[in-house]
Amino acid sequence: MMRLFLCLLTLMMAPMPAVAGDLVMTVRDAGGRAVPDAVVTVYPASGTPKGPIRFSWPLTVAQQNLQFQPFVLIAPVGSAVAFPNRDKVQHHVYSFSAGNRFELKLFGRDESRSVTFKAVGVAAIGCNIHDGMIGYVKVVDTPYAIKTGADGVAQLSGLPSGKATVKIWHPYLRAPANELSRPVVLVAAGAVRQTVAVELRQSAGHGH
């Protein structure tokens, strides 16, 4: 059993100028359609910067309209994620994912629990009451992480130039651990544009 933490994070990161290198990654499925909610992480060969990782989005997974919102959340390892309930009904949120197991027993409207994700990886979260509710928290150990928008494009700026490994993760991606890995050479100035085609499996009866 995990303790529920409430962690409020303020987004303070302004858009960074493209002084360093940029990576523009477009993710498409086999049919050429844009794939949203794909998590793109970059691991430069020179290593990731030390220090706490901060993202520009709130570390919150709300339960709203019997769905987790957002569907996919990128959270730095060791951070606390809030699970506010915005529905009229109660929810029983849990995850059996290795290293990040937790169970938030029935809590009602406007209640919020928080969970600290200690292990790098993916925590699939569900509701024991509502089978249709499913969401994912991608726990990362790099500051260079972003998810694709509705257009399937993810853009990362300020990346150090040189060799790096790009990983693309999606809950339905047909690959070991639902993740693809690609080497990339980043440039000091200007953008590196890449498009990756992925194969998605059918979502197992869930809303997404």
């Binding site: 059996f96 979260i125 569900g126 089978d131 197992a204 009866g205 869930h206």
Partner: protein, 773 residues
């Protein structure tokens, strides 16, 4: 149909054949419709059964799925799975297995790892994962050589972490529980196969060979429609339903089967009874038509047989037992047959009986004669003398009755002998005798017995009887009856009461006939020649004419007398040719005479027969006229007896043509003053019988003298024949006879001799042939 000799066989075969054909058609129609019906029924029930089976299959699947779903949703179970708590998971699956009576229950992880199925290896897990990952959720599952109905339920935690698989074995017991649910006793079998391997039946491992092949055929064509199988136990109707499967490249089919024999079973009794009824009907039909045909044809056969007997001349009568057409036909036949028999016997009787006397006729006697041994057998012809006169006296009726009386008398004298009427006045009798002499004496006795007067009612008729007899076995061309008749003639000729046939006296009619054909040839080859006897005119003291005579020197017979062949020519009708030839020859020779300076009257004898032939008379007139001849035709008075009117007419026409007519042989035979009156002749020839014996003062002399006077007074010249002496010639001259003819003057000589005789004689009289003025 032509092969049937008997009408009844034909009728029976025809009727029975028609009925049998109808029965056969009915049976075929019933069988076809029944079996089609049964087939359709089975197909319908199979289709219905198939639908039920689908539902049951789905129901079982749902039951399994329900259990699996409950487990897959269980939070604790999911937690145990997620935490890799294998013992807990195992125990949970074990719990479910026993609770739901499952054969298999296990978990397949999303990483293809198996939990709860320790006997399965990693490869099996991989295969299962592939199937489940491919979306398989229910169907036939093959595991370790076993076949199961299985369902799979994904376990979401909340993401898919694997599948729970529940399976029930598809064994025979399971299939039987399925079969028990069907309305008809069909058999259900699941067939599976992997790839292109052969089909096998998990619920019935013994199934093999033909059956399996048949079922496989049905499975392959599993289009949801019933098909027909030809199994070892007869025809089956089968319905194949494809089942979903887990395994990659696997196929599974549920085959429902129903033997057609079972479907037909309820109808078997119907078919058998139909067959029996048909056979019974056929038997009754055959028997019935046989009896009917026999009853129809028996009278016909009897008629057929009777007609055959009638044809063969036997007695023919048909039993009449019915009153229908055949009965009436038989009746008519009997009447007709009786009529034919009666007429036949009457005709036979008529043919063998003399109608006037009721005595047997000649044919009847001939028939008996034929059947009697000829040895010692004689035929006697009995004739009534002067029968025409008797008949004229008593009339035809009594004459016949008299002959009948005589016949009866013969029967009394010779009871064993057959007496028949031969002709109007003759009877003919058969006689057995040891010798000819005995036969003659017996016949003499018979004649004596018959010669008594015959009493005819009031009248008594005297009869004179003659008889002739002939031996049957005698070798002669004429029949015994004819010979007996000839013998009778011979007896009469000899004025004897009885005579046996004398072949020598009778001569040979065949040789007479051949004589005639030889005569016609003799005209050509010159063996018949003319001879002329000069006639001396007593007043002129010169030869004034000749009489033409015929001389036939036959190469084998020698000299043939004119009397013989002229008479024969008259009888056989050759007289016309003979007369024509003679006349033509005489006319030729008269011309020769004339050319030699002798104008002579040519006398030619004319047969009385030629006076009945006006056509020939005209021919003679033409011939004579053409030759310019002077001809005198010598005829006898008797020539005009037969048909005086016609004969006299012809004589007149001859005289009108300038032909002289002479009455020949006057004084002999039936010389009649009537004829002298009727025949206007130019000349009268006194028969030589009066002249040959002519003496002064004799009766002949008186007759000759008075005849000469008679002839002269009738305006005729008188010729005397047979003048052989000078005295006779002188006497005739004294009597006023006009012409003399005879050996004293000149015998008949050839043409040349006569010319020679005449020529010197004109100056000096010939020696030996005296001539007197």
């Amino acid at each position: 149909m032509g092969r049937f000799v008997h009408l009844r066989t034909r009728l029976t075969v025809l009727y029975a054949g028609l009925f049998g054909f109808a029965v056969l058609l009915t049976a075929i129609a019933v069988f076809v419709s029944v079996s089609a019906n049964a087939r359709r029924q089975v197909q319908d029930e199979l289709t219905a059964g198939g639908a039920v089976f689908d539902q049951i299959w789905a129901l079982k699947s749902d039951q399994l799925a329900d259990g699996a779903r409950v487990l897959a949703r269980d939070f604790g179970f999911r937690a145990a799975l997620a935490s890799g708590d294998a013992p807990t998971v195992d125990s949970a699956l074990q719990n479910l297995r026993s609770r739901l009576a499952l054969d298999r229950a296990f978990f397949v992880g999303a990483d293809a790892r198996l939990t709860g199925a320790p006997e399965l290896d990693a490869a099996a897990g991989e295969a299962l994962w592939r199937a489940l990952d491919g979306g398989a959720d229910s169907g036939v599952l093959q595991l370790g050589g076993q076949t199961y109905q299985a369902v799979a339920e994904p376990v979401m935690a909340p993401d898919l972490i694997g599948w729970i698989v529940f399976a029930k074995s598809l064994n025979r017991a399971e299939m039987e529980s399925l079969e028990a649910l069907a309305a008809i006793p069909l058999s259900a079998t699941v067939l599976t196969r992997t790839g292109e391997h052969g089909w096998r039946s998990p619920d019935n491992p013994q199934l093999a060979g033909d059956d399996l092949a048949q079922l496989a055929g049905a499975a392959k064509s599993g289009n949801g429609k019933p098909t027909q199988l030809h199994g070892r136990q007869g025809e089956d109707i089968a319905l194949a339903k494809p089942l979903s499967v887990f395994g990659e490249g696997e196929q599974a089919v549920l085959v429902l089967r129903y033997p057609l024999k079972l479907a037909m079973a309820p109808y078997n009794a119907l078919m058998v009874s139909l067959m029996l009824v048909g056979l019974l009907g056929l038997a009754v039909m055959i028997a019935g038509s046989w009896f009917l045909a026999r009853s129809i044809t028996r009278p016909v056969s009897a008629l057929d047989e009777a007609v055959r007997r009638l044809r063969d001349g036997e007695d023919a009568k048909v039993e009449v037992s019915s009153h229908d057409e055949i009965g009436r036909l038989a009746l008519s036949f009997n009447v007709m047959a009786a009529g034919i028999r009666e007429r036949e016997s009457r005709i036979t009787a008529l043919a063998l009986t003399d109608q006037e006397t009721d005595l047997p006729n000649r044919r009847a006697l001939e028939a008996v004669l034929e059947k009697t041994p000829a040895d010692g057998l004689y035929v006697v012809a009995v004739g009534v003398d002067r029968f025409p006169q008797v008949r004229a006296a008593v009339g035809y009726g009594l004459a016949a009755a008299m002959l009948r009386q005589l016949g009866l008398r013969v029967g009394q004298t010779w009871p064993d002998s057959l007496c028949a009427r031969l002709s109007s006045e003759r009877l003919i009798v058969m006689l057995k005798a040891d010798s000819l002499e005995s036969a003659v004496s017996m016949t003499g006795q018979l004649v004596e017995d018959l010669s008594h007067p015959v009493q005819m009612g009031e009248q008594t008729i005297d009869v004179g009887i003659s008889a002739g007899l002939a031996r049957v076995s005698e070798d002669h061309p004429a029949s015994p009856i004819d010979r007996a008749g000839i013998a009778l003639d011979q007896a009469r000729g000899a004025h004897l009461p009885v005579a046996a046939f004398d072949a020598q006296a009778y001569g040979d009619p065949a040789s007479k006939l051949s004589l005639m054909s030889e005569m016609l040839r003799a005209f050509e080859d010159g063996s018949i020649q003319m001879a002329y006897q000069p006639k001396h005119d007593l007043r002129a003291g010169a030869i004034s004419g000749v009489e033409a005579l015929l001389r036939w020197k036959h190469p084998t017979r020698g000299f043939v007398s004119p009397d013989e062949f002229v008479e024969l020519a008259e009888e056989t009708g050759h007289i016309e040719a003979l007369t024509r030839w003679t006349l033509i020859k005489a006319l030729e020779d008269q011309k020769t005479f004339r050319d030699a300076g002798h104008d002579l009257l040519m006398s030619v004898n004319l047969s009385g027969r030629m006076l009945g032939n006006p056509v020939f008379a005209r021919e003679m007139i033409a011939l004579i006229g053409a030759a310019g001849g002077r001809i005198c035709l010598e005829i006898t008075e008797t020539a005009v007896i037969n048909n005086p009117e016609e004969a006299l007419g012809i004589i007149e026409s001859l005289r009108d043509a300038g032909i002289a007519i002479s009455i020949d042989d006057y004084g002999s035979g039936l010389s009649s003053l009537t004829y002298l009156k009727q025949i206007h002749a130019d000349e009268l020839k006194i028969d030589k019988a009066f002249i040959l014996t002519l003496d002064q003062g004799s009766r002949d002399a008186l007759l000759v003298k008075s005849t000469i006077d008679l002839a002269h007074s009738l305006g005729m010249k008188v010729v005397a024949e047979g003048v052989e002496t000078a005295a006779g010639l002188a006497l005739l001259g004294g009597m006023g006879c006009d012409i003399a003819q005879g050996y004293f003057i000149c015998r008949p000589r050839s043409l040349k001799e006569v010319i020679d005789f005449l020529s010197p004689a004109e100056t000096a009289p010939a020696q030996g042939d005296a001539r007197t003025a």
